[in-house]
């Protein structure tokens, strides 16, 4: 039952988010002196010339890899940290990947202009934990509808009264005649580390942290 242990090597193992954050994350690591290849193709992992191991993961999986120590550290959006609630240490706000988690509704419902919410709110979202705590703090009873994609469709077809979703530019909302009703939180990319690995690889991790935060955002 013994498992291969990648992260015990001397160099750091870094969990990288594929998708929207990848280009900025790779650029920032390169600026910090890590030789991140420009084209990784379909590989899941790469060993760089400087002895760093990179794991290419779905963003939502980054916290789990870091919490279990399969990666020493990683780059991930704050929005993912809210949702996964993993035990990782948040060492730096890297500034890029800005987006807002918002409550949005149909323009014609006028919630954004102060129209009262229905007594039993139905809220569709991919961000269950965040939505739950947001409405709980306001003492609003809601029925959360977990969805996995195209959340903006749900109010248009009557599945939900409101959605809780990430907004970067607002284009998607506008295209569907949806408007922001309330802001839940702002998110940017974070440099996170496994709590034990911070101690065990203190010199390497603090050196990388210093280089990552020295770069102007």
């Amino acid at each position: 039952m013994s498992r291969p242990v990648i992260a015990r090597e001397d160099g750091l193992t870094i969990a990288m988010p594929k998708g929207a954050l990848y280009a900025d994350a790779a650029a920032r690591l390169r600026a910090a002196g890590i030789d991140v290849p420009h084209d990784v193709g379909r590989r899941l992992t790469v060993r760089t010339t400087d002895g760093t191991t990179l794991l290419f993961l779905r963003p939502t999986d980054v916290p789990a890899y870091v919490e279990f120590g399969s990666a020493d550290c990683g780059i991930v959006g704050k929005d993912v940290l809210w949702e996964t609630d993993r035990n990782v240490a948040e060492l730096a706000d890297l500034g890029f990947g800005y987006c807002r988690l918002v409550v949005a509704g149909r323009r014609i419902d006028r919630y954004h202009e102060g129209a009262p919410y229905p007594t039993f709110l139905r809220v569709a979202t991919k961000f269950i934990r965040s939505a739950e705590s947001f409405f709980a703090e306001r003492d609003l009873p809601v029925e959360l509808i977990p969805l996995h994609g195209s959340v903006e469709l749900s109010p248009l077809v009557g599945l939900a009264d409101l959605i809780v979703d990430l907004v970067a530019t607002g284009t998607t909302l506008r295209e569907h005649d949806l408007v922001v009703v309330e802001e839940v939180a702002e998110s940017t990319a974070r440099f996170v580390v496994n709590p034990v690995r911070f101690r065990a690889k203190y010199d390497a991790i603090t050196a990388l942290l210093d280089r990552l935060t020295a770069v102007p955002a």
Partner: protein, 402 residues
């Protein structure tokens, strides 16, 4: 037929490994003159809340009995032992050295490896002893404990709960702001700490090292309590060094353990490749007074399953003994009883089996002897290898076949 989430079965070979670790830990406790105690799995909810604080209630499996008494499964052993000592052992000469190996229960919403709902803790409490000698005893016993099970490169971070208060005071935070900052230090959330706009706080949360790190912290700490704690950490490092542990003991000022009863010295042990700590402990002088018994105390505990994970990841399986059964006996209770009385492990076989079947069973279980008692005669068969298992003799015809 499914198990609830977060609990597990232990098959014979798995349990044998777990028991071996538990025995090794017990041996270490015994060498340090600790005596084992046992407490009930169920405690009254108010007793646990008195020890742990009400905010930990969500960590508990709690329920009512039929008279509506609120009960809970113990989530750790320090509070039950504190209850035991303060109610049953007040007259005993101090200090008391008590040990336990016990299962504890935690309600995790999402159980996972290293965070199971039922886990086994092996630990000790040193009750009625204040001061650095008692603190050092727990740290050095923990190091020997991890050495004993084969984790000789385990590292230990030490800190003192009084120091963070000195730092917060030194940067001018108090009240809610100080409490909030402390939570962020505990999980080393530097992003949140930067928002306090006190650079020393962020620096402190990253500060690790040895004597130099202690001196660095002293530049910020003003309170007499935190300065005394820094002095003690110097002494602790010196004492660790005298035992040859200089590479294994480091000061980490962000080390604040989860439970809120710690008042002084703190430590955690870990190995590099496992993402969570293996053992930890510290001083909790305010706990026994909560039970009306005004004595200081210090203790530590190890997660047995976590130790197992660490050993298995290294491929260091605890050895399995072969020849676990000494003799296979067929046909006679008297012969079997005589074998057991002689100290042998005896396995019964069906009296209706023939010699070949008995030999087959013996080979399958690595049993070296077979004794058959039939019709008043007792025979012993020699268990040799099966013909097919014998090495093939090298003859000219198979030399080339390899």
């Amino acid at each position: 037929m499914r198990l609830p989430a977060g609990v597990r079965d232990w098959l014979p070979h798995e349990l044998a490994r777990k028991r071996e670790i538990e025995q090794q830990m017990r041996a270490v406790f015994g060498r340090w003159a600790y005596e084992e105690v046992q407490t009930p799995i169920i405690e009254r909810l108010d007793v646990l809340e008195r020890g742990l604080g009400e905010e930990t209630t969500e960590l508990l499996f709690h329920f009512n009995d039929r008279r509506s008494t609120a009960l809970a499964l113990r989530p750790e052993m320090t509070t039950p032992v504190a209850r035991l000592v303060s109610t049953r052992m007040r007259e005993a000469p101090l200090p008391l050295r008590l040990a336990y190996v016990a299962s504890v229960f935690r309600y995790y919403e999402q159980p996972q490896e290293g965070r199971m709902r039922e886990l086994t803790q092996a630990g000790v409490e040193l009750i009625g002893a204040a001061g650095i000698d008692a603190d050092a005893e727990t740290l050095f016993m923990a190091i020997e404990g991890l050495d004993e099970i084969g984790l000789r490169d385990a590292r230990f971070d030490i800190n003192d709960a009084r120091i963070v208060d000195g730092i917060l005071d030194g940067v001018g935070l108090d009240g809610d702001a100080a409490r909030e900052a402390k939570e962020h230090i505990k999980v080393r959330n530097l992003v949140a700490l930067r928002k306090f706009e006190r650079p020393a706080l962020v620096e402190f949360a990253q500060l690790r090292g040895r004597h130099d790190a202690i001196e660095h912290a002293r530049e910020i700490c003003r309170t007499p309590e935190s300065r005394a704690a820094l002095d003690e950490l110097h002494v602790m490092l010196d004492r660790a060094e005298a035992l040859g542990y200089q590479q294994r003991v480091t000061v980490d000022f962000a080390l604040l353990r989860d439970l809120d009863y710690y008042t002084g010295f703190l430590f955690e042990g870990y190995v590099e490749e496992i993402g969570f700590s293996l053992c930890g402990g510290g001083r909790y002088d305010s706990l026994l007074p909560r039970f009306g018994f005004n004595v200081p105390a210090v203790g530590w505990t190890a997660g047995v399953e976590r130790l197992l994970i660490a050993l298995e990841r290294r491929g260091k399986h605890v050895r399995r003994r072969r020849h676990r059964v000494d003799v296979l006996v067929a046909g006679s209770d008297v012969v079997a009883a005589r074998e057991r009385a002689a100290g042998n492990v005896v396995r019964y076989a069906g009296a209706d089996l023939g010699d070949d079947a008995l030999l087959e069973e013996a080979r399958a279980h690595d049993i070296p002897r077979v004794v058959i008692a039939l019709n008043g005669t007792v025979r012993e068969l020699r268990v040799g290898p099966r013909i097919g298992d014998l090495p093939v003799p090298r003859t000219p015809s198979n030399w080339d076949a390899r």
